[in-house]
């Protein structure tokens, strides 16, 4: 680093003079910046006063934006639909504010902290949409009394409401997802009895998220006698040639499951094609089933399957409503009306439905005014979105009914299997219910270990 040192002394002197000239300018700039930053103290932006504040952590930028954008659009569209069509919930207008996390944990925590006190009652619930942020918020939400709703991600043992009073994991968990995948394979093979001796491989993102299903799958492998092989893919998963040569050319499993994320998904599907592994025997979890992940895989993705905890398509009543009320009036969030109905979009819709239904039921108890996190937690503890209610919302068949209780923070945990036809997802199964009794035991056990480590006394749900 000191190559030119000796020759530079003159230059340095010259530069030094130049700096002195610039200093004044810089100082002014620095003072301005300091004043600006100091005003952060007084910041938390004053929002339109009397509505219900809804804070939404989204990632419309960064490496995972392709999957994050449709979710954010779906969530925003549903909130806006309620505002435009019904004037909010029971006359209480919803003030939606987005905060972009770029799928970065630090930013996500900052977003949460910035928004948690906004509006007259603060944030009614937080949906961090990221494993990292979820973990970082576990302690905070308890202190802040704000429900943490993680739909299809986060801690699976959050299903145990006694240890995690503020964590909710409807409609499904990774452990449930793993069980559903095996359930589906069993039905393809003609029953659990035929699983014996079958080879199943799991390709997973080597992170907290990707490792979630392993314990469940190992338990199932023991139960049903199939052989489970694990293939971790280091983050971010741009290169998987070695993994797929092992799978496709050596192990030659009967099925491959995937817990992938972002660019890893498309790469895996392409590499599967490159070793001629049949896509029909390749099943991804819901986060490996975004439309955005199929696009770069192109033709290679045809036939590939994915679990989804919501229905697919854009033809439900709620979609039609959104098209007329919002997109008809140029108030839609997505770039074009074609974005409606992508699975990630529907997931955003579903999260919005869960939140707004909880708000509605909380208002039923506490009155028609903005709700606090604590009140929403009360409502989430007894959330009941029935088939009939879904029909009212125009989402019958799009979502599975959800019924939660003080101790059960997951619900039935059902999911569907869908298949990519080159243009869109097609549902190829009905709702599949996981083996609740086995999973329940696992949730309770894992939550108890967590409670012990953290010194938490589980609450009494009797």
């Amino acid at each position: 680093m000191h190559d030119h040192e000796s020759a530079q002394d003159n230059l340095r002197l010259f530069r030094w003079r130049k700096q002195r000239v610039n200093i004044n300018k810089v100082k002014t700039g620095l003072i301005a910046a300091a004043v600006g930053m100091a005003s952060l103290v007084a910041a938390p932006a004053v929002m339109a006063a009397d509505g219900q504040f809804v804070g939404s952590l989204v990632y419309r930028t960064g490496p995972y934006a392709p999957g994050g954008i449709p979710w954010a659009d779906g969530f925003a569209d549903y909130i806006n639909l309620l505002n435009e069509r019904d004037g909010g919930i029971n006359g209480v207008k919803l003030d939606l504010e987005e905060c972009d996390t770029a799928y970065n944990t630090d930013k996500g925590v900052e977003c949460y902290e910035r928004m948690k006190g906004n509006g007259p009652t603060g944030m009614p619930a937080v949906m961090p949409l990221s494993t990292g942020v979820t973990y970082a918020l576990l302690d905070r939400v308890v202190a802040d009394k704000i429900p943490l709703i993680t739909s299809g991600y986060g801690r699976a043992d959050g299903a145990d409401g006694t240890v995690f009073p503020y964590v909710f994991v409807p409609p499904a968990t990774y452990w449930g997802g793993a069980d559903i995948a095996i359930n589906y394979i069993a039905s393809e093979e003609g029953g659990y009895g035929n699983l014996k001796g079958k080879k199943v491989a799991l390709v997973y993102h080597d992170s907290a998220y990707g490792k979630e299903p392993i314990k469940t799958l190992e338990a199932l492998a023991g139960q049903h006698g199939f052989e489970l092989s694990l293939f971790p893919v280091p983050h971010p998963g741009l290169e998987q040639k070695a993994t797929w040569l092992k799978i496709g050319r050596q192990l030659r499993p009967d099925y491959v499951l995937m817990w992938g994320w972002g660019v890893m998904n498309a790469t895996a599907i392409k590499e599967a094609a490159a070793v001629n592994f049949p896509r029909e025997k390749f099943i991804g979890v819901w986060w490996s089933g975004n439309d955005a992940d199929m696009v770069p895989a192109g033709k290679a993705a045809v036939g590939y399957k994915s679990l989804q905890f919501n229905g697919v398509g854009a033809d439900f009543d709620v979609h039609k409503m959104i098209k007329t009320v919002l997109y008809g009036n140029n108030k839609g969030s997505a770039k074009s009306v074609d974005g409606i109905g992508e699975v990630a979009y529907n997931r955003g819709l579903q999260s919005a439905v869960i939140l707004t239904e909880a708000l509605r039921s909380a208002m039923g108890e506490f009155g028609n005014k903005p709700m606090t996190g604590e009140q929403v937690q009360w409502a989430m503890d007894r959330l009941d979105i029935t088939e009939a209610r879904l029909k009212d919302l125009g989402a019958e068949g799009l979502f599975d009914p959800i019924k939660l209780s003080c101790s059960d923070h997951q619900g039935k945990g059902r999911a569907k299997v869908t298949q990519w036809d080159g243009k869109q997802w097609k549902a190829i199964s009905d709702w599949i219910e996981p083996n609740s009794s086995m999973l329940r035991g696992m949730y309770v056990e894992s939550a108890a270990a967590y409670a012990k480590e953290k010194g938490i006394t589980p609450r009494d749900c009797k």
């Binding site: 000191h2 040192e5 000796s6 002394d9 340095r12």
Partner: protein, 261 residues
């Protein structure tokens, strides 16, 4: 000056040869250094003078020859060991620590004498602090001696060339060496600066009794201050002796006047 009495031979080099690949840099060089003398190595550019110093303080390891230091034949040693044997040096192209102040540069020269542990230094209380102050006193003496009080806290990168040379000398002195190797301490200086530097060299030799091995281009200076001179040319040793002897050596005259060999 030549009547001075010197002590025993403390450094004896016999038949030193050094090559890099096919290039022979030093060829069968033999001379010795006596306690308390000023010993100069002269010769035209590329004669192998700096390589000679590098051999003495262990940067280069000669392929042939024997180095006896204080009566013991020296094994191949690591670079950092030379300082422990009491050999300090300055460099032809100044090798100061540019990001540090004059004071810190010279303090660094005392690193071998500082004994407090890392933990004590971290707490900076009691022993470590006392040690730091003791050495600071010593360093201030050197600063006074070299008349560089005014630039004590200046980063050396900002100092003019002549001053840097002086600081470098200070750093070498701080180690309280037995032998001080000076690699062209007066190169690029004006007459006045040269006089100052010559004075410092003589004073060091006089006051501290430090043995000095000097490389210098300026013949006048060399002949003035040296006790004995060895002359190198293209890796060969042309002459060795007192300035008078060397001055009258025919090979030396030829080499310096450019008579073709």
């Amino acid at each position: 000056m030549n009547e001075r009495n010197f002590g025993e031979v403390i450094l004896d080099l016999k038949g030193i040869s050094l090559s890099f690949g096919a290039m022979r840099v030093l060829n069968n060089i033999s001379f010795n250094v006596r306690q308390g003398e000023i010993r100069s190595i002269i010769g035209p550019n590329g004669a192998g003078k700096s390589s000679m110093l590098n051999v003495i303080n262990g940067v280069y390891h000669p392929q042939e020859g024997e180095i006896t230091f204080r009566g013991e034949v020296r094994k191949e040693m690591k670079v950092h060991e030379a300082a422990g044997f009491g050999i300090a040096r300055t460099f032809q192209n100044i090798a100061l620590f540019k990001g540090m102040s004059t004071l810190d540069n010279i303090m660094t020269g005392r690193n071998l004498k500082m004994k407090s542990s890392m933990l004590a230094q971290a707490i900076y209380w009691g022993k470590a602090q006392k040690e730091e102050i003791e050495h600071r006193k010593k360093v201030e003496e050197i600063i006074d001696f070299l008349e560089i009080q005014a630039i004590r806290k200046t980063p050396v990168g900002r100092l003019p060339y002549g001053m840097q040379k002086r600081v470098e000398l200070g750093r070498a002195l701080a180690a309280e060496p037995e032998i001080l190797l000076l690699d062209e301490p007066m190169a690029g200086m004006n007459v006045e600066e040269k006089e100052d530097m010559s004075r410092f060299v003589l004073d060091i030799n006089d006051e501290f009794g430090t043995t000095i091995v000097l490389i210098e281009h300026d013949m006048g200076v060399v002949m003035d201050i040296s006790d004995r001179v060895v002359v190198l040319d293209y890796g060969r040793q042309l002459a060795d002796g007192t300035p008078d002897v060397v001055r009258s050596n025919q090979d030396v005259i030829d080499a310096y006047l450019g008579v073709s060999h």
